[in-house]
């Protein structure tokens, strides 16, 4: 049996403001096996990014526990940071640096020597097909190039777990397919990928298993095939539904929704 790359139990995030307390995540349980591509789906504001930010040490956890690569996120965040790669919703890049400088700096910050960082940058820029643009400033890159560079910068230290928060949002179809290819290639090399997306086709194409979050709670989880089969059986459909239909059913965004359909489950 494979080890767990990500485990979360009762993960809660509350924000306290002048208007009172807002529950962004209301008790999420997750188990992601090492080596899989795990999809995390949900409508806008469902708690996807908040969950990712807690798992990647960027947000404090209000309640519950999370372990990434076997390490407690709250107890030893630096050890977690050494084992994860992160590409967030906003491609976190410095527009005044060149692509090569950005990757080399990232590699140096993870402990590489200057020579190692230069070699790794060359390798990664080739992997994401940015060798030609490597010495140009990032502010001149297209959206797709920025996404690919962000992905490359998340890989400098060969992370065990890669978190991708909506990596294809805002990309044209060709760039999106390019990112999908990268994700597959990265996963084939043994990296666990935790991917949040609003694109159900993306999840269907890339993910071994997925969970759907709505209003801060996980409302469905399983393989894409099992989720479709469950809906087909429950609604007595004559053919397999699409993942879109599974999503709409799970998040209550369908007119055919039956009261009591949405329930909390453990992923």
């Amino acid at each position: 049996m494979n080890a767990l790359a990500i485990e979360a139990e009762g993960l809660v995030k509350q924000y306290r403001g002048r208007a009172g307390t807002v529950d962004a995540v209301r008790g999420v349980d997750l188990s992601v096996t090492a080596g899989e591509v795990f999809g995390f789906l949900g409508p806008n504001g469902a708690g996807k990014s908040t969950t990712v930010r807690m798992l990647t040490t960027l947000l404090t956890i209000t309640a519950g526990t999370a372990r990434v690569a076997g390490i407690d996120v709250t107890a030893d965040p630096d050890a977690v940071r050494r084992r994860i790669g992160v590409a967030l919703q906003e491609a976190g890049l410095d527009p005044r640096q060149t692509g090569r400088e950005l990757i080399e700096l990232q590699a140096r910050l993870f402990g590489s020597t200057a020579a190692e960082a230069a070699a790794r940058a060359e390798e990664l820029l080739e992997l994401v097909e940015l060798t030609e643009a490597a010495d140009r400033r990032i502010k001149g890159y297209s959206g797709g190039m920025k996404r690919r560079l962000d992905l490359a910068s998340a890989l400098v230290h060969r992370p065990e777990v890669l978190f991708l928060d909506e990596p294809t949002t805002g990309l044209d179809p060709a760039s999106r397919l390019g990112v999908w290819d990268e994700v597959r290639r990265i996963n084939q090399r043994g990296t666990t990928v935790f991917l949040t997306t609003q694109y159900l086709e993306e999840a269907d194409q890339l993910c071994h298993r997925l969970a759907i979050i709505d209003d801060g709670r996980i409302v469905r989880s399983g393989t894409p095939a099992s989720l479709k089969a469950e809906l087909r059986s429950r609604l007595g459909l004559t053919s397999d539904p699409t993942l879109d239909e599974v999503f709409l059913d799970a998040t209550g965004r369908t007119r055919e929704r039956v009261a009591g359909d949405v329930q909390e489950v453990t992923a």
């Binding site: 940071r81 992160v86 967030l88 906003e90 640096q97 140096r108 993870f110």
Partner: protein, 254 residues
């Protein structure tokens, strides 16, 4: 990797950032030079060097130079670049890496110090045709550069606090204006003992006064260790406070 190496790497990156935005550096040099020229032009004849004891034989431009140095040191753009990093997501990228939180704070501050050192030398060179000399000699010039740079780091630290707290370029920019009342509540036109009583009291409570007096002593006189101790003491105390508060904010950043 040690925090020291990470600080150096992030500092180099911040310097590269400044060098690639020369248009942001221009006002940092132009406005202090403008104040030096205008103040000297307006009051130079009121305070002739041969009959004004507090000028120690130099022109009034020498008396004004510390104001311009402090102004240049307080125009740092480190905090605004930090807001850009926050808004663009690069700050989160760095926070998600095993980078020492101290390096995140100090990298930019050290770069700001280096930038201020260059600006100080440039301003001293620009002031030479106005009859300014550094009376305390080469050692005094080094101390002048160091003290101004340290003040630049202190003020950049204050601006970074606003940036980290508000995450807003507009708020950070406005925060920088705080320096103007601080500058004008110093003995920037005449020595403290010649100020009116209320202004003298305000200047005495204003920490910038002691940095200004230390810088001025280096330009006008031989090394005055007691004045220098007060100037460096203020910078050390406020520097430590700024680093502590910045670290606290970065560690609690959510």
């Amino acid at each position: 990797m040690s925090a020291l190496v990470q600080t150096e790497l992030l500092g180099r990156r911040a310097i590269r950032e400044s060098l690639r935005t020369p248009e942001a550096l221009a006002p940092t040099l132009f406005i202090p030079v403008f104040f030096l020229v205008v103040n000297f032009g307006q009051a130079g004849r009121i305070f002739p060097s041969d009959s004004t004891p507090f000028l120690y034989g130099q022109t009034y431009a020498a008396f004004q130079l510390p104001s311009s140095l402090l102004l240049a040191a307080s125009f740092g753009s480190a905090a605004l670049y930090l807001v850009e990093d926050i808004e663009g997501g690069y700050f989160d990228k760095l926070r998600a890496a095993p980078v020492s939180r101290a390096a995140l704070v100090l990298g930019r501050l050290i770069a700001e110090g280096a930038k201020t050192a260059l600006l100080t030398v440039a301003l001293v060179v620009i002031a030479l045709p106005f009859g300014v000399t550094i009376a305390s000699g080469p050692a005094g010039l080094v101390l002048l550069v160091v003290l101004t740079s340290l003040w630049g780091m202190v003020f950049a630290g204050f601006m970074q606090l606003i940036a980290l707290k508000t995450r807003s370029a507009a708020a950070t920019n406005s925060g920088g204006l705080v320096f103007f009342p601080l500058l004008f509540l110093t003995p920037n036109f005449v020595p403290r003992e010649l100020l009116t009583r209320p202004m003298e009291i305000a200047a005495t409570f204003n920490p910038v006064t002691y940095v200004m007096e230390a810088l001025r002593s280096l330009i006008l006189q031989d090394l005055q260790w007691d004045v220098l101790a007060r100037g460096f003491g203020v910078v050390a105390a406020f520097g430590a406070l700024m680093v502590y508060l910045n670290l606290r904010l970065v560690r609690r950043y959510d």
